[in-house]
Amino acid sequence: MGVTVVQNFPITENRTGPSTIELLTKRISALGAIQQGHFLVDCETYTSVPQLGNPRTVHILHNSEQPATVFSILETENKTIPLATDGLFDLLMIKMANFYTSKKQTKAESKGPRYEIGDFLVKLGTVTVSQNFKGVLVEVEYRPCVVPAMCWELMREFLQGFLGSTAQSAPPLYLQNRMQDIYSPIDTIHQYLEQFTIYRKAPGLRT
């Protein structure tokens, strides 16, 4: 487990989703990456029924990198509570269907190939929100390090190496306040949720 950065790769006018993925695959393969299976990150959002009082939102996320874990983020008015639990948490949510209802339209997921290149792990994800293609997310993990501040420069350089000028020069918003903390899998989930929320709000393709 290392530091992960999740970043959107904008799709230019004359390209489709698959062709963008193909382009990135070509670039990363040229660097010497080897494909190691696929990955999937999905997110489902539940909202509390009005009887419960103040509206609360629960995001349930799964990451294929941590297959035994269900991540959930509870958003209330003034704070967010992250939780990493067993697979049984999914069953618990079914039991709570009376209090938390899911909006099927908001189911977001990012899936695609997973590459290993030295100490880096690169995932090229096709983002769909309720089966509609929304964009491309690139996840890069640098495995030997657990403190973002110590490896951000290196990661940025690596990102620029195959994303070109579209690579962001600043770390993701979520990580900016936690650069000195020890990175944990829930931080990846936070980044994905951040991205998914933007995708959901965007009316069409995100550029």
Binding site: M1, Q66, T69, A84, T85, D86, S184, P185, I186
Partner: protein, 644 residues
């Protein structure tokens, strides 16, 4: 008068059953014909005994008695003449009626209280004689005591009788003892027991059912008279009222034999016998406890072997394991095989079996025996003891690590690692490998310590070790110069490799070949000599001019490199060069500069050039005085210093 409204009518009836008149020999009962009404009435009337009341009447009513007696005698006469059987009854009733009438009259008069007053009559006090009472009581108590004593005596004699007749304890007490140690249940008329390790967590398919029956009486009643004199024979005889029947496949004695073969030649052998005791007697009449324990042992060995055989077939080893009959062969290290065999001998052919493994028992390794034993027990324990905390909603079975994998967000790699479990065979092979590694290391260290006398090599084995890892600390020092220089080494003995941590913190990994360790130790001996000379030079006041651990000069060494150092005397006119080679040993040369005598030659014309250093001359160390190399060097340095 006496009639009361509260009284209850009670009807008394004769039992319906007729009286038995006779029972014939074939058992049929002949009943009396039922009495007729008049007959039964006469019978009941005859049962009434009027004589007593008559006498009382006579005493009380003296005035009337005369007539009554007369009439009585009349009636008796009449009765005797049996003219009318009811005559006596009639007379009695009449007299009774008279009495009642008189009593009624008296009471009526007394009620008026004018002519008659009823006074309570002082009753004559009963004369009590305490002594008589005491005697009476004493006698009664003595009688009761006598009864009790005779009863107790009888019980005692009967008990003695039983004990004399059979030396065996009671069946039920035996059964109770059996029940305390073994699982029993009653199935209809028989008692079935279970000696398997199911309750301890075993999942072996074979059941360990046994049956408990009561031993026949005849055997015992016939046996004591046959051997009355020798008491020992009777003791060894089964003195149990229980008989335990064990299925034939669990009878006899079994053990797991572990042999380590080096190219078909036995290196050592281990006999696993869970009982750990001597050979059980061939007598089939052993005590049930031993019999059951032996059967349980057989079952355990069978399960262990079954498990090992299953794993041997499934495991993908570079050199495949072989399972032939009741033997498993696995390659531990190149050229060394581990042979695990199941020896199961029935009671009949036990004696000739026992003679065979007897010679190999000398190599019995209790550690390997114990670990084999332990491995299966551990599996059993894991089957029944699930790690805490386990939530009630979660399935049982996964390890504690797996439970935490979810909340701790374990990644794919970690989860994959969790699924890998080590089989019993793998573990025992690892332990055997470690056993060999340890043996080889011990051998190498011992032989080197024997071969090399000059620096002393002492090895300390850590007492705390695991079945697959142990540690040895080696100290290289010179006798008499321990404080000057000491080279410590630590060697971790693993399963297939050795890890050596050197004096300077370098870590060397070595394979299972003992030659590698030998070479390493020789290199370190060499290094020790050079370092010790340097340390000694410092204490002697000599200057340390330079050294090289890996000398590129001279003949090529078969292992390692030669090392050397140069030492200068305190006033700088003598130089000692030491060269250490792992194979050929130590060479020492001495140079003088300037020489004490100078002869100008064509090349060296002036004396000042002699300061540049002179020719080195070899020192024949073996000719020198001194206990060891360092002592010789000390003497050499001392002599060179004093000369100047």
């Amino acid at each position: 008068m006496s009639y009361n409204s509260n009284s209850v009518n009670i009807s008394v009836e004769a039992p319906i059953e007729n009286q038995i008149q006779e029972i014939t020999y074939d058992g049929t009962e002949i009943y009396q014909p039922p009495l007729t009404l008049s007959e039964s009435l006469a019978k009941f009337a005859q049962k009434i005994d009027f004589s007593k009341s008559n006498e009382l009447d006579i005493k009380k009513d003296t005035d009337e008695a005369f007539e009554d007696n007369k009439s009585d005698s009349d009636s008796k006469d009449a009765f005797q003449s049996s003219l009318w059987p009811w005559d006596s009854v009639r007379s009695k009733l009449r007299s009774a009626l008279q009495e009642v009438c008189v009593l009624a009259d008296v009471l009526a008069i007394a009620k008026e209280k004018r002519y008659l007053v009823l006074d309570p009559v002082q009753q004559e006090a009963v004369e009590t004689k305490p002594m008589v009472q005491i005697y009476a009581r004493k006698k009664a108590l003595a009688g009761a005591a006598n009864v009790l004593l005779t009863g107790a005596e009888r019980l005692k004699t009967s008990q003695n009788e039983i004990l004399r007749n059979r030396q065996t304890p009671d069946f039920h007490i035996e059964l109770l003892r059996l029940r305390q140690n073994w699982r029993l249940k009653k199935v209809s008329n028989s008692i079935i027991g279970d000696l398997s390790y199911r309750t301890a967590g075993s999942k072996f398919f074979q059941s360990g059912m046994f049956e408990v029956t009561k031993a026949e009486e005849e055997e015992k009643t016939s046996s004591p008279p046959s051997s009355p004199a020798p008491g020992i024979a009777q003791v060894s005889k089964s003195n149990s009222s229980l008989r335990v029947t064990v299925p034939s496949e669990l009878q006899g004695v079994a053990y797991i034999e572990v042999l380590c073969q080096k190219d078909q030649e036995d290196l050592c052998s281990v006999n696993l016998n869970l009982l750990g005791s001597g050979p059980p007697t061939a007598n089939p009449e052993v005590h049930w406890q031993q019999k059951l324990e032996a059967a349980q042992n057989v079952l355990f060995c069978k399960e262990l072997f079954n498990q090992l055989a299953k794993e041997a077939v499934q495991l993908q080893a570079p050199i495949p394991h072989m399972v032939v009959g009741n033997q498993i062969m696995a390659t531990v290290l190149p050229g060394i095989q581990l042979v695990i065999g199941l020896c199961h001998s029935a009671t009949a052919d036990k004696k000739n079996q026992q003679t065979a493994p007897a010679p190999s028992k000398s190599d019995h390794d209790h550690v390997l025996e114990h670990s084999l034993h332990q491995l299966l027990r551990e599996v059993h324990h894991k089957n029944t003891h699930h790690p805490f905390p386990h939530p009630s909603s979660a399935p049982l079975g996964p390890s504690k690590k797996r439970y935490l994998a979810g909340p701790m967000a374990a990644d794919r790699h970690e989860l994959l690692e969790m699924t890998h479990t080590e089989t019993l065979l793998e573990q025992i092979i690892k332990q055997a490998q470690h056993f060999f590694m340890r043996m080889r290391t011990e051998y190498v260290l011992d032989t080197i310590a024997k071969e090399v006398k000059d620096p002393l090599i002492s090895s300390h084995w850590n007492t705390l070790n695991s079945p697959t890892q142990s540690c040895v600390k080696i100290n290289i020092s010179t006798h008499g110069y321990d404080a000057v220089c000491r080279t410590p080494l630590v060697i971790h003995v693993g399963e297939k490799s050795l890890k050596c941590i050197c004096r300077d913190g370098k870590v060397m990994h070595m394979s299972y070949e003992p030659q590698e360790l030998r070479d390493l130790i020789f290199c370190h001996i060499n290094q020790h000599q050079i370092l010790a000379v340097q340390a000694l030079a410092k204490t002697m006041g000599w200057q340390f001019l330079g050294n090289s651990n890996h000398l590129g000069l001279g003949s090529v060494e078969p292992l390692g490199n030669a090392s050397s150092c140069l030492l200068g005397s305190p006033n700088g006119d003598r130089v000692i060069a030491v060269r250490c080679e792992p194979q050929s040993g130590v060479q020492v040369s001495v140079a003088h500069s300037p020489r004490t005598d100078f002869f100008p030659s064509r090349l060296v014309t002036e004396r000042k050039w002699e300061h540049l250093g002179g020719q080195f001359r070899d020192v024949r160390l073996e000719k020198m005085e001194g206990r060891n190399f360092l002592h010789k060097m000390e003497l050499l340095m001392a002599s060179l210093t004093s000369n100047s």
